[in-house]
Each structure stands twice: as structure tokens, then as C-alpha cells.
Chain length 404, copies 2
Amino acid sequence: MLSVVDQLAIIRTNVVDLLPEEDLVRKLERSVATGKPLTIKLGLDPSRPDIHIGHGVVLNKLRQFQDLGHKVVLIIGDFTAMIGDPTGKSKTRPALTLEETRENGKTYVDQASVILDRDKTEIRYNSEWLDALSFKEVIALSAKYTVAQLLERDDFTKRYRGGEPISVHEFLYPLSQAYDSVAIQSDIEIGGTDQKFNLLVGREIMRAYGHEPQCILTMPILEGTDGVEKMSKSLGNYIAVTDSPKDMFGKTMSIPDTLITRYLQYACYAPTDEVASLGLALSEGTAHPRNAKVDVAKRIVARYHGQDAADEAFAEFERVFVKKDEPDEIPDWTMTDPSGSMKLIDLLPVAAGLASKSEARRLITQGGVRVNGEQVKDPEATISAADQPVVRAGKLKWFRVIPQ
Amino acid sequence: MLSVVDQLAIIRTNVVDLLPEEDLVRKLERSVATGKPLTIKLGLDPSRPDIHIGHGVVLNKLRQFQDLGHKVVLIIGDFTAMIGDPTGKSKTRPALTLEETRENGKTYVDQASVILDRDKTEIRYNSEWLDALSFKEVIALSAKYTVAQLLERDDFTKRYRGGEPISVHEFLYPLSQAYDSVAIQSDIEIGGTDQKFNLLVGREIMRAYGHEPQCILTMPILEGTDGVEKMSKSLGNYIAVTDSPKDMFGKTMSIPDTLITRYLQYACYAPTDEVASLGLALSEGTAHPRNAKVDVAKRIVARYHGQDAADEAFAEFERVFVKKDEPDEIPDWTMTDPSGSMKLIDLLPVAAGLASKSEARRLITQGGVRVNGEQVKDPEATISAADQPVVRAGKLKWFRVIPQ
């Protein structure tokens, strides 16, 4: 096991909140002294099993804990998922059956295993202990937190002030989630910054039950490919970890330039100084955004599908990208040669107005010529008019070869 | 069964809220048509089994319902009483055992039977259904009411605005009480005006569970003998229905004059016109407050202990009352008669300075003379100096007879 100082340095990376750090130090010291791993908790909603690289921010942090020798416990929140929306107001939250929650949980873990070390990951379903709570125990639990404290949660504050109804049962959910920490006696609970409130409730409730309270650790929320909203499946701005290399690459290439360093940091987990220097280079114009994006996209694909897949995705993207550059109107060039075909090197001077065969050869061998979007580097390649191929010579010269 | 109109006239008496009256009319019509009695619910806290005449206001209303042929269900709130105060902050609310709640419930019913018809009174303990609620069912229940609605309850509003903590479990209590109505499917729930909010929650929750909602009926809160606070055991300003006739009489005599008509109306259940005319007479000075109070006190004692006990209590009070009038310093009068005794009629002219024996006789026979607090109407009564009796002649003349 690494020393406390070395562990802390890794744990701190990319973290937004780490509270209270002195408690974490104490826990780590004890762990190092006894060799007993810490228990790191992550709560999951089992109703949406599509893990995206936004989740990856947190999962990667968990993986760091695993690599440091600690134990990760994923809590699948099947208890509340099986209840659904008891007010019946939200159609987007249908109640799930036990089978569905198990299936979703399994899918989640399968997907998360791309990042997590499956052997150091424990899965628990919170119905295990929440289903067993009697009304009396629920009262005891809810006696440990106040209405005013819960109304301080941002979304509750807004809704209460805005006159939007908050059903009383919604107050029971953060308390249930907090009780999960009591049940598994977590040392640290991790989540996005939007979970900070709930994680702190867990800390308080553990204390109220006489347990050593968990530390809380929040990670940044990654913006979706639109660059505006939090990445989420429902907003359609997400890159799923199960997306094909091609989709993953293409979606990454679609992010606004402002997100490049964010993705480099939180989706590629690049070292801080690399992120900083790219940021500087981009702002000074010494780095080209598209190239930086290609690098980020390649690294994301490589992370989830391997380097070969990343290279292929890049090549594929290049083809598609080029195709997309195709102008709306491409002039026809009629091939009058009676054979109906010509060598590329002979075609270009006459069809694309290149000055000479040697200029054509240079352009072709340098990769500046594409036929139907495919780079063709062989000057002797045969172009058949019957295929009506679209030829691009250099950046701007396009024509379609048609037979006489 | 009486007609709906006749029943309504009785039910309306002394009521503060009767909501909604059109629903009650419908329920009564159905009851009259089918002969099926209505179910009237009263919720009780089993931790304080001393019933006082403040409770009597509500219990008397229940008795009226019973006399109209309806069924009264007393809900003993043993479920929450067995929990006590889970925050541990209130020492005045220790958790009760099952045995204690049963014992308290039994005591309550025994005491309430002074007013209620025991045969038309059903007793239910709400642990019967609340203990059986799973966490899921609690969530379903609490989904049916909002945080904002509960914060509108006066005491919650004040505490929330005043920054005083409200534990989340306190929100579950009115919902539990409301669920009692679902469990017994009450037609009407009755309570003091301070219960109006909770009774209305019951109405809403019944509706949310798809039941016909109960009507709610509130009765005035009787002030305690101090004339300021609500009558309550903990404030010590109460007249228990189990108080002795003497205490009951004395406590009633101690109420401020401003309460006389309130007690006549809500503790003696006097007809409205009698209450109104006494109020008028008192304000015009044509009725003496003390006499009116004596009447009220006699009627209260007679209600709980019978007429004879009321008369005795009055006589006893008169004696004590007179004794209490005794001045701090009573002058001695030395009897020089060698026999050591004198007739009362001979004593008064010399000892109390009355003008003549005939004046003494008139005062004695009119009841204006007391010896040791006891009225003595016999002019020939013998006063012995050895007894050192205290004699009061008229309102102001006091002396103690001592031997030479």
C-alpha cells in the first residue's frame, strides 16, 4: 500500500470537494497501519443503465481507489426505483420490477467494468436493508434530520420558494440514501458535485447512528457534447462507454472548442500540466482546436476500445469528414477517351486543370487526391467513367467523371 | 333515528367548524335511509390519561352522536406513543411500553365513560395498522401530501420561520393520524379547534386513498381555571372528571368572572339562550358573579358526581370559603362570667357591640353569625370560653372568646 501522502496526492486529483480532509487522513493512516482497505461507496440509480463518459469521471476516481487497494461498493438504488413515482405525476419514472432492477444493475456493472476492477467491486442492492425497515425505524431515521436542513438543498429551495409542490416522500429519499451508508458503513462516499448535499446527509446520519461518519468526495460534472448541459442520456448529448468507436470519435469531434481541455482532463484523465499547456496553446493559437480535438477523441476511443480501434475511428472520421466537405454542386467532366478509363495521373491535368503530370504526381503521392472520399496515392490508379466517381484534387477542385 | 334536519341541529350546537356541511348532510341522508350509523372518530394521545372537563367539550359532542344512534371510535395513538421522542430532546415524552399504552387507554375509556355510552364506543389502537406499514407504504402515504402543505400548520410555520428545528419525523405524525382515518374509514373526525389542520389532512389522505373523505368537526378549546391558557394537565389549570366533588367545586369557584358563561356553555352544556341571558345579566350587574359561579360549579359537580354530591360540595365550600375570610388578627374577648359559658344571644351585645338582644336575635336567625366557621342560627346556643371559639357577627365583627 502506498503511503498516506502518496495516496492523498492521487485521491485529490480532479476532485472538487474532499470533506473533511483531516478525517480522510485519519482513515488512510488507519488503513495503512492495519492493511484494511477503505470502503468507497457510489450510489446508482438503476433505472438508466447507459453509462457515459460523464459517469466515467466518478468511475475513474473509483478505479484509482481500487488501484490503491481499497474496496468499492456500488449501491444499486433498487428500493426507490421499485417504488417509481408514487405521486403518479412523472411519467418518466415508472416503477421497476425486481427483475428489471437486477437486470439494469447487472448491465451497469458490465458497462462500468470497462473502467472498474471487477474483482475489487462489490454490488449491493439497497432494498436489502431498506425493505426491512419498519415504520418505527423510518421514524427513527427521519427524526435525525430536520425539514429546514432538507429545504436547504438547492432544488428543494427553488421548488419551495417557487411554490412548486414537494411531496413529503421526497424528503425520505435522501434519508434512505444516507441510510445506505449506515448499512454498509462506508468510509468515503463519492458522487458528482450535484450530489454534495446528499453525501453530507449520509455523513450526518451515520454520525447520528453512532457510526464513524463517511468522508465525502465530489467530482466535476462533465458537460455533454453540446457544451451547455450536463452530459445525460435524456438530453441526448452523451457519449456512452458502449458507443462504437466511430460514434465515440464523431461525438467527441462535435464538442465545442471550449470543452476540449475539460474533456482532456476529465474524459482522458490527462495530467494537469498537459491540460494546462494545451489550454495555453489553444488560447495563444499555437495549437489548432481540430487537432487537439482529434487527439482527445483518439484517447477517449483508445480508453474504451483500444488504440487500433482509435486509429480506425480516426481514419473513418477523416473519410466521413471529407465526404461532408463535398460541395453541394459538383461539376461533371466527360471522359472522351474511347476506352472509358484513364490513369489518375493522366486525368488530373485535363480534368482538374493541373499544370502538368508532375504536379499531378506530387499531389497524388502527398495524399491530396481522393476518389469517392478515399485517399488514392497511386498515380497509376485507373479511373473508370462508368463508375461516375467523384474526384477531389487538392482542397477545392472537385469533379465527377461521367462517360461520354 | 331522527331526521337529517333534527340531527343537524343537535350536531351543530357549540361547534366551531363543520366542514363541509353539504358532505355531512349527504352522509346523514344515507345513514337515515339505510339505518347504518355513521362512524365518528376521535384520536387520543395515550400518554396522558387524566381526562378533564376541557376534554368533556369534545366527549359531550360524541355522546350526542351516540344518542343520535351513531358509532364512536376512539383511536388510541399508541403507535407514536411507543416511539416517544426519537430526537431525545423532549424529556416530557418518554416512550411508553405496549402495556402502558393499553393501561392508559383503558383508564381513558373508564374516565370517558362518565360521558360516553360505553356500549356505542369502540376502542382501536393505531399500532394495529401503523405497525404493519412497510417503508414502501410509508413512502406511498407521504407521497400524498406536500412539504408546503405541512409547513402551513401554525406551529410548523412558526418554528420554521423562527429557525427552530422541525425533525422530518414530525411530518410523518399528522400523516399517520390521517392514515388512521383510512384504516377505520371514519365519516366524521372530531377534535378541538387546534386539531383542525390535522383533521383536514385526514380528509385529504382518505380522498387520496380513494375513500369517501371524512367531514371534520371542531369544538372550542376550554380555557383552564386560570382563564388564560387552554385547560391542560401539565399547566395545572384543569378540572379532572375524576376530581372529588369538593375539588371540582372549588376549582370552578376559582375561575375568573370572564369565564363564567364559557363554562356554563361548554362545561354545563346549558342551552344557548340561557348562556346569552346570563351573559347579559352579568354585564348589566343584575346577576352576581359569585352566585352564577356557584350555579356553574354545582352543575359541573352534579354532572360528574350527582346532585347530592353537588349540594354537599357547595356546603363544604361555603364553610371553607368563610374560614378563608377570617382576618389575620382576631381580637380576644375575655369572658368574665364565672360559669365560663354564655348563650350566643347574650354574648353578642357585650362582645360584638350589638345594640340589643333583639338585634342579636335577628342577626343570628338570619344566618349572619358563625362560630368556628359554622353558621349558628340558634340564639340560645351555648358558647363555652374553654373552647376559645372564633365568632363572626355579620360581615366584619370578629372576636375570639377566651376564658378569664
